[in-house]
């Protein structure tokens, strides 16, 4: 595996981890009795994400890594629907799709 491919893999994994971290934080709002537990889970997972992403920047240019991080918007929406049962309307999906394209354009040209 090349250094670039490894960097891309690290960023993609970090967006999946971001998704789960956000799910845990939302769980803390939904299950008030276990709020601290879910916050601890969320923070732990997000710390792993920070380390992975910082590591990925050693293998990738920011202009490559940053557009990939916008995948986290898709991950969060997918996991919110699957794991939290949130009602994601077609308009919300459309908005998330636009955000994915738009943020990629902004950071790819930066």
């Amino acid at each position: 595996m090349t250094a670039t491919a490894f960097g891309v893999l690290l960023v993609v994994v970090s967006t999946v981890i971001e998704g789960f971290g956000q799910i845990f934080l939302k769980k803390s709002a939904l299950e008030f009795a276990r709020r601290r537990f879910w916050i601890l889970c969320g923070v732990s997972v997000l710390i792993v994400e920070v380390l992975l992403y910082s590591g990925a920047l050693r293998f990738l240019a920011v202009s490559t890594a940053f557009p990939l991080t916008s995948l986290s918007f898709v991950m969060v929406t997918l996991l919110s629907k699957w794991l939290l049962g949130e009602h994601v309307t077609p308009l919300r999906w459309f908005g998330v799709g636009l955000i994915l394209v738009g943020t990629s354009l902004i950071v790819a040209e930066a």
Binding site: G85, R92, G102, T103
Partner: protein
Amino acid sequence: MGERFPLRLVIGLAVAIALDTALQLVWKTGVAALPETSSLWETIVAVARAPIFVLVAALMAAQLVNWLKVLDHADLSYAKPFTSLGYVTVCILSVLWLGERVAPLQIVGIIIVVTGVWCVSMTPRATLPPREAGE
């Protein structure tokens, strides 16, 4: 405002975007100053030793406290897309403060992101009634 956009939620999302913007700028600065190495472990050690990452950690802590408040009032899949406006503010600040030139495609990107966030804002903010306890 009103039912669809409670003031508390609007302020929470605005603060989240502001903190995200500051975090991105400080984090970028910190990472750029790290020594060149291909070792993940050496990178982690360098991050732990760089003072600027204390500021990154402080911003992350503030972001966490604010974000938990936001999630008390809205679906995750509703609130998270709003943070994409942080990409827009970073881009605009880079032009205003750092004098960077904005590319035509970036302007298109900004318009697309704002349109996307507008679409999300038009959807119901909570699948279940938000927990209002402690208010």
